[in-house]
């Protein structure tokens, strides 16, 4: 953790993350994960796979998310993943990944490009069918997709039986949060 004097602000603009419970669901603003995109450079598939293995970073296939110890990742596009790691230990995530990946991958810090809301509880499909085309009823844990919620390009990641994440553009955190809240109120 760098020893600087700047105090962070959560995407919703507070010192601490916002947690909202509506009926059976809880919507939690998450600020404790660092993100980096990892994109394979030309003809570097093997090198990227080896580096990922060394670091313990999973490289799931299209439409998927995978957790493996410290790191978790989800698929962004052909040969491209978003890698997640604990913020406290991996704030400068690019500096941590780069030495191992070297020139085999293009790595870009994405931590603060996004706001992440974890939504937990029962009957999440009833809420999310009011938000996006992602068919939660036919997808299980480990599915991830890019979709649109109230005009915002978002990732939806099913992390567990009753837990998913919505990762959307940080500057629109308040709009996205509002969309989640009204959908939950409508559903429950």
């Amino acid at each position: 953790m760098p020893n600087h004097r700047l105090k962070p602000l959560s995407p919703l603009g507070h010192d601490t993350p916002v947690v909202t419970t509506i009926g059976p669901v809880t919507i939690s603003e998450m600020i404790d994960r660092a993100l980096a995109s990892v994109a394979t450079r030309r003809d570097q598939d093997k090198a990227v796979a080896a580096a990922a293995k060394t670091l313990g970073i999973p490289l799931p296939g299209a439409g998927h998310f995978e957790q493996a110890g410290v790191f978790s990742s989800f698929w962004l596009g052909p040969d491209q993943w978003m890698v997640e790691a604990p913020f406290a230990s991996h704030e400068d995530i690019v500096a941590i990944l780069k030495p191992t990946f070297g020139r085999a991958a293009s790595i870009t810090e994405q931590t603060d490009a996004w706001v992440r809301f974890d939504v937990s509880g029962k009957e999440l499909p009833s809420m999310f069918e009011r938000l996006c085309t992602f068919d939660l009823r036919s997808h299980g844990t480990g599915s991830a997709t890019r979709t649109v919620i109230d005009h915002l390009g978002c990732y939806v990641i099913i992390r567990g039986e009753a837990l998913l994440s919505v990762i959307g553009p940080r500057s629109s955190a308040q709009s996205l949060h509002h969309a989640l809240v009204v959908a939950a109120q409508s559903a429950f």
Binding site: Q80, D112, R130, H178
Partner: protein, 985 residues
């Protein structure tokens, strides 16, 4: 008020009473009633006035096809016009009013139109209101619209919310009558994902309105049993109060669920309606059939209904519309209505059957080969005139008449992809054709199979076939025992009449006479017939009238009905509230809002914000005592130029570009060269479109050998990213380039002014002296004791300036740290107004100059287009007309009289020439008041501008009320520091 017309039976809950009001009068009904059934139970038949002639009207149907009983619901902001009383679910406290009448429903002054009907025929408006042309829009149309009202709008904001949602299934079943239930059971039992949608609040469709049995129990009871089984299947979703409104592309159907329309006010947080987008593999249309009338003189009197509706009101709602009724039919189903009513104890005065050879009825006066030729009664039916087969007449006193001209399959949705219905002579009706929406098939009455047994078996068979397409094995279980009567109909459309009016389309007041007139005036194609007479153009889309109109036209032309053709339906199947189409996208939530990292700080300062796309940016930051925006902006500009100013520039697009071919990629997308840019350096870049016009500009920094970060304008952040992705994926997939947006990842601030370095040095941990960090340098640094950051020495204002970026979560703390550090320099935070003033003072082009019509040469940046390499737009930018030396050039403009204020958009005209298009020499693109120079300044595009520095001419603004012309002098666009000494300081 007692429910005088209520009879025994029906699916209403008599243990509970619901109070409601119609036209201010109180009535009572029961759960299970519709507004129409409850009013009819209370003896109210008159529910509205017709559109054109203001004729008194009552309901003719018991469902969505209703053309007449159109009412205004609720009051205040929730008032809703044009709702059909026949589908409004009754609730306690419901308020409804009749429409299109003044002063009252019983006495309507506009019914004078009815007396003028000889003039108000089809084409009346086209023929009459021709002259003078200018009167149409301002005089005629408003008066006509006022007279022909369809309810009124309150102009108040709708207080309710509406959702939009997305559903997925293997099979969508539209309609829950016997065919739909049978299909749903078959598909549901096979494990397929099924959605069964019905517009009604009860499942069962026509089974609820009939007396016959299915599998030995009452039809309605069988339906309830089937629904209970379906509800137990997790793969089946039952959606009542849900109208499938249309078939759209790729297996998508629209549906409106009325979540809260059956309660007075939606529960907290609940939407009034949800517009669902249903993604389905296969669709079964099992929407039943709609009975059609037979046209005869004065067939629109309240009390005259479709025979099946009379039967439905009796069987489902326990309502005898009249206590003495007659039936006018050309088919056996009409006869069934008479029998059902008789069984309910209603006095059936006669069955007038157009078929002379119909099987005689026992115990009912059966006038075979007869016709109803007229009706009488003031605001409701009192008698009908019948012509016997032998030509004799009889007047029969009745207060309700059921009319059955046969049934039309409810094929609306099957024609949404231009699916042409086909004529089926056996049932004298159109059935869904083979070319409708892909993946849609029809069953039951919607497909012309009218018996209950046929509906049950065809529904199951259609489900088996649909599932088989999807590779799901299903077996149709044994069809339940049910009536299987063949259709016996003899087509009969209208009773010939020479003088009176016989209605076809009751909502738009189209009569048989109108069709004859259209024929006489040669509007004979069905499409012309429709537009000339307005047949089928009302909110009901002619569900009851269209086929009748076509049949009459066929008779007139001597062609068959299939030769005459048919019109097809369009979405929506029934009217959809605008609120449902808008969903949550209204008011402040019309689109998402993007907030900058300094937003919280800026809000605390009382900043004025401006919408820039979806962003809210600080426009200026007023200080106490400043009452006019110019005071704030002038102060911000002067303070920046004299000391230092800070501006949030996070909104500029940032694109991370990496890969071993990143430099080559940039050379191809930018007009100028980037592969030669040194690591740790920034360069201004100009991006062209394929046609050589400037697309965007910005700076790109080289952070490493294979790492660049591009900035774009705020407006073009997304279009440029999309363009780069297209180039990468489609044009040059062989290049090793990876892209990702980092716009939101970094909070970026411009720090500009002679004291910029001094301020920044207080927060940056490294040496940023001119030697260590010269003009156009960039690099990764740390701030405030170790936070990773990026620094770019670039300037938009023309001052010594930097842009500094920190991870967004620290953006708020960073601006506070810089404001604190800047106190000793009297630093200001400036908004986009001051930013605009300074870039005009410096002569930098921005959105007003990058207007999608101009080239690099026009902007005075022609030399940036490198001819040494190929890049998008390079070749076409060299076209003769675009490369002319005397073309438009950006110039600076100042008023000769410094007290004059210039206006953007004014056009250059030389002295002595009239201000007309042929003397147009260009225009002012950007205008500002320069507090440094003390007068108005502008940038503009001037023909041959480079050669005209020093010239005086006029700028003309013909739209100005005050001063249309101002004399100006053409100057260099660089008003401030033309040599660029400040930014290199």
């Amino acid at each position: 008020m007692t429910q005088v017309r209520r009879i025994a039976g029906g699916q209403i809950d008599r243990s509970s009473t619901l109070n409601f009001a119609f036209d201010g009068k109180d009535y009572a009904g029961h759960p299970g009633d519709t507004l129409a059934s409850a009013l009819l139970a209370n003896g109210v038949q008159l529910m509205g006035r017709s559109f054109k002639y203001h004729r008194p009207r009552g309901p003719i149907a018991a469902g969505a096809e209703e053309p007449n009983a159109i009412v205004e619901l609720r009051s205040g902001a929730r008032q809703e016009p044009n709702t059909r009383a026949t589908v409004i679910e009754l609730f306690d406290g419901l308020e409804a009013r009749s429409q299109n009448r003044w002063p009252s429903l019983a006495f309507d002054a506009m019914s004078i139109n009815d007396r003028l009907s000889n003039f108000l025929t089809a084409g009346f408006y086209y023929k009459t209101f021709m002259w003078p042309a200018a009167f149409w829009e301002k005089l005629y149309e408003p008066i006509i619209r006022h007279a022909a009202g369809l309810g009124s709008l309150t102009r108040l904001d709708d207080p309710d919310s509406y959702d939009k949602g997305f559903l997925h299934c293997d099979v969508l079943i539209i309609g829950s009558g016997p065919a739909g239930l049978s299909a749903a059971l078959t598909a549901g039992r096979a494990g397929a994902r099924v959605i069964l949608a019905d517009e009604d609040f009860s499942f069962g469709g026509r089974l609820n309105a009939e007396t016959f049995s299915v599998d030995g129990i009452a039809g309605a009871a069988w339906a309830a049993k089937a629904v209970a089984e379906l509800a137990s299947l997790p793969n089946v979703r039952l959606m009542s109060r849900t109208t499938v409104t249309g078939a759209f592309d790729h297996g998508i159907y629209g549906a409106v669920e009325r979540v809260s329309d059956h309660v007075a006010v939606p529960a907290a947080g609940k939407p009034r309606q949800i517009l669902w987008r249903i993604y389905t593999q296969r669709t079964l249309l099992t929407a039943g059939a709609i009975e059609r009338p037979i046209a005869f003189e004065n067939n629109d009197r309240p009390g005259i209904m479709l025979a099946g509706a009379l039967r439905a009101y009796a069987n489902r709602w326990g309502v005898a519309v009249g206590d003495r009724v007659a039936i006018f039919t050309n088919n056996d189903d009409g006869v069934r209505s008479a029998l059902d009513l008789k069984a309910k104890g209603v006095d059936v005065a006669a069955v007038i059957d157009t078929r002379a050879d119909a099987k005689p009825l026992d115990g009912i006066r059966h006038i075979r080969g007869g016709q109803v030729v007229d009706s009488d009664g003031r605001l409701g039916l009192s008698s009908i005139t019948v012509r016997m087969a032998n030509g004799a007449s009889d007047i029969i006193a009745v207060n309700a008449l059921g009319v059955s001209g046969g049934w039309n399959p409810n094929l609306n949705i099957s024609s949404h992809h231009r699916g042409r219905p086909v004529w089926n002579e056996a049932i004298a009706a159109f059935v869904p054709g083979p070319d409708g929406p892909k993946g849609l098939s029809s069953a039951g009455a919607a497909n012309g199979i009218f018996s209950t047994h046929g509906a049950l078996s065809s529904g199951a068979a259609a489900a088996v076939a649909a599932l088989s397409d999807l590779g799901i094995k299903a077996a149709a279980s044994k069809t339940p025992e049910a009536e299987d009567a063949p259709v016996a109909i003899s087509a009969f459309w209208h009773v010939p009449s020479s003088k009176g009016r016989a209605w076809i389309d009751q909502q738009n007041d189209v009569t048989v006479k109108d069709v004859k007139l259209a024929h006489q005036e040669n509007f004979r194609s069905v499409e012309h017939l429709k537009r000339y007479t307005t047949l089928g153009m009302a909110t009901d889309q002619g569900k009851t009238g269209n086929v009748l109109g076509i049949a009459i036209m066929a008779e007139l032309t001597g062609q068959s009905i299939p030769q005459t053709g048919t019109t097809i339906y369009r979405p929506p199947y029934t009217p959809v509230a605008m609120g449902a189409l808008a969903g949550r996208s209204r008011g402040h939530e019309f689109k998402p809002t993007r907030l900058t990292p300094s937003h919280k700080w800026a809000s605390e300062q009382g900043s004025i914000f401006v919408e820039v796309g979806m962003w809210l940016r600080t426009q200026w930051v007023p200080k106490p005592g400043e009452t006019i925006w110019r005071q704030s902006v002038d102060r911000e500009v002067l303070a920046t130029r004299n000391s230092v100013g800070i501006c949030d520039v996070t909104t500029l697009g940032k694109i991370d570009i990496q890969g071993t071919d990143a430099g080559l990629f940039l050379d191809r997308v930018y007009a100028n060269t980037f592969s030669t840019l040194g690591v740790g350096k920034v360069r201004y870049g100009l991006m062209l479109r394929e046609d050589g016009i400037v697309m965007d500009d910005g700076t790109t920094a080289r952070l490493g050998e294979n790492e660049y970060v591009m900035t774009t304008t705020t407006a073009n952040a997304v279009p440029v990213f999309r363009h780069l992705e297209y180039c990468r994926q489609v044009l040059w997939p062989d290049l090793d380039v990876q892209l990702i947006s980092t716009t939101e990842a970094w909070a970026q601030y411009s720090v500009a002014g002679p004291n910029a370095r001094k301020l920044l040095q207080k927060v940056v941990d490294q040496d940023i002296s001119n030697e260590a960090f010269p003009y156009m340098a960039c690099g990764e640094i740390t701030v405030c004791g170790g936070l990773r950051a990026r620094l770019f020495r670039i300037s938009f204002s023309g001052e010594l300036a930097y842009e500094i970026a920190v991870p967004t979560r620290y953006g708020d703390a960073m601006i506070r740290a810089m404001v604190e550090a800047g106190k000793e320099f009297d630093a200001v935070v400036y908004g986009v107004e001051a930013l605009g003033v300074m870039r005009i003072e410096k002569g930098h082009v921005a959105g007003n100059e990058l207007n999608g019509q101009t080239t690099a040469l026009n902007m005075g940046l022609g030399k940036m287009v490198s001819k040494k390499k190929d890049a998008i737009g390079m070749v076409l930018s060299q076209r003769e007309g675009m490369a002319r030396d005397d073309g438009l050039r950006v110039v600076g403009v100042k008023p000769v009289d410094p007290s004059k204020l210039l206006t953007a958009g004014s056009h250059f005209v030389v002295h002595g020439k009239s201000p007309t298009a042929e003397h147009d020499d260009g225009w002012l693109t950007s205008v500002a008041f320069s507090p440094n120079l003390g007068h108005s300044i502008a940038l503009g595009y001037l023909k041959n501008g480079a050669a005209r520095i020093g010239e005086r001419l006029r700028v003309v603004n013909l739209m100005s009320k005050a001063e249309k012309e101002i004399e100006v002098e053409i100057v260099s666009p660089h008003f401030i520091d033309p040599e660029g000494e400040r930014l290199r300081a």
